[in-house]
């Protein structure tokens, strides 16, 4: 991990870059700084134990913040580059549909909250909605570029886990309870129950708590990452007006 001094050095470099990019719209500036920050992290991860010299070397290879800024803000008027030509409609560009800020919330509702609530509303027909809600959630989760493949895989199975287990617990008979009772000779009554089958209440509740924890943990990570990425995108796409 980085020492405090190394962190400081990197932060100072990024602050200098941010300052040097003053000529750019706020939005583009944040995008460039985020890219460079990612570059530094990736370059340092490639090495083993990180020394101060490693940090210096990575920053030196990036170049002087002022040089980077000069390339970014230089006389933009007649650049023959393809980006200039294609970005004339920058001001009307909006963030693509499946990368907007409602997407993480939508996926959470579809895959975590949907199965839970609809299971509880099963008696009034909620169960018929369940396939649609979940398919919608899965589709958005997989099509949206907000998450990595690993995150998508985790979300696919772990998010609906708790709701599905609740469904199983409520509506299937993994076990049967047999009770018998009667009256003893002294007039008192008695009742004994035995549970057959693999799914005893004990096993069910332990599994339920474990799966619920996994579902909620996954939801937290995916929602947080998703929101962070939509925020970064919104910044890079906004008009900067």
């Amino acid at each position: 991990m980085l020492t405090a001094t190394q962190h400081q050095r990197i932060d100072r470099y990024l602050a200098e870059l941010d300052g040097a990019l003053g000529g750019l719209p706020e939005t583009e500036r944040a995008d460039v700084v985020a890219g460079v920050r990612e570059h530094i992290e990736a370059a340092l991860t490639d090495r083993g134990g990180i020394t101060d010299d490693d940090v210096d070397e990575v920053l030196r290879a990036l170049g002087d913040p002022l040089t980077i800024a000069a390339g970014a803000t230089g006389d933009d008027g007649g650049s023959p580059g393809p980006a200039t030509v294609a970005s004339e409609d920058d001001r009307v560009r909006t963030v693509p549909m499946l990368q907007r800020d409602w997407v993480p919330g939508f996926v959470m509702v579809g895959l975590l909250i949907g199965p839970l609530v609809l299971t509880l509303l099963a008696t009034i027909g909620g169960i018929f909605l369940l396939p649609f809600v979940m398919l919608g959630g899965w589709a958005v989760l997989w099509i949206s570029p907000l998450w990595t493949p690993l995150e998508k895989l985790a979300g696919t199975f772990l998010l609906p886990g708790v709701g599905i287990l609740l469904f199983v617990g409520l509506f299937t008979t993994g076990s049967t309870e047999v009770c018998g009772g009667g009256m003893r000779e002294d007039g008192s009554t008695y009742q004994t129950c035995t549970t057959d089958g693999w799914l005893t209440p004990m096993v069910f509740w332990i599994t339920f708590v474990a799966v619920a924890a996994l579902s909620i943990g996954t939801a937290y990570v995916l929602y947080r990452n998703g929101r962070r990425r939509t925020a970064a995108l919104a910044q890079s796409f906004s008009t900067g007006a």
């Binding site: 990019l21 040089t67 980077i68 007649g78 580059g81 990452n225």
Partner: protein, 105 residues
């Protein structure tokens, strides 16, 4: 940086992501030879512009070590721009060479 170099660099970036997704550091290392790009950092304003222009798109991917990385790939618009550039680049370069040679003679 001159406009000419920056323009050419943008097409070089498009060419590097033509055959598959690559992340920033990877692209930067490929381009930093002291001729095209003086420092690796120069890449990021260009990537930002290309993305805003819709010529490249990006997505986050897991990395074996460290945080997820942003991978860049060519969009259909980017592919079209690159194809057009490739078609004009060779005659353009030849024409410039001819004029330079004529000026020397």
């Amino acid at each position: 940086m001159t406009n000419l170099r920056r323009g050419a660099l943008e097409y070089c970036i498009l060419a590097l992501v033509r055959d598959g997704e690559r992340y920033g550091l990877d692209i930067a290392r490929e381009l930093t030879d002291g001729v095209l790009m003086a420092g690796e950092g120069t890449l990021y304003p260009l990537l930002s512009r290309l993305r805003k222009g819709g010529l490249v798109a990006s997505s986050w991917q897991e990395s074996e070590s460290g945080p997820p990385r942003r991978y860049y790939r060519l969009t259909p618009d980017g592919r079209a721009a690159l194809d057009t550039f490739e078609k004009t680049w060779q005659p353009f370069r030849d024409a410039v060479d001819r004029v330079l040679a004529a000026g020397r003679a």
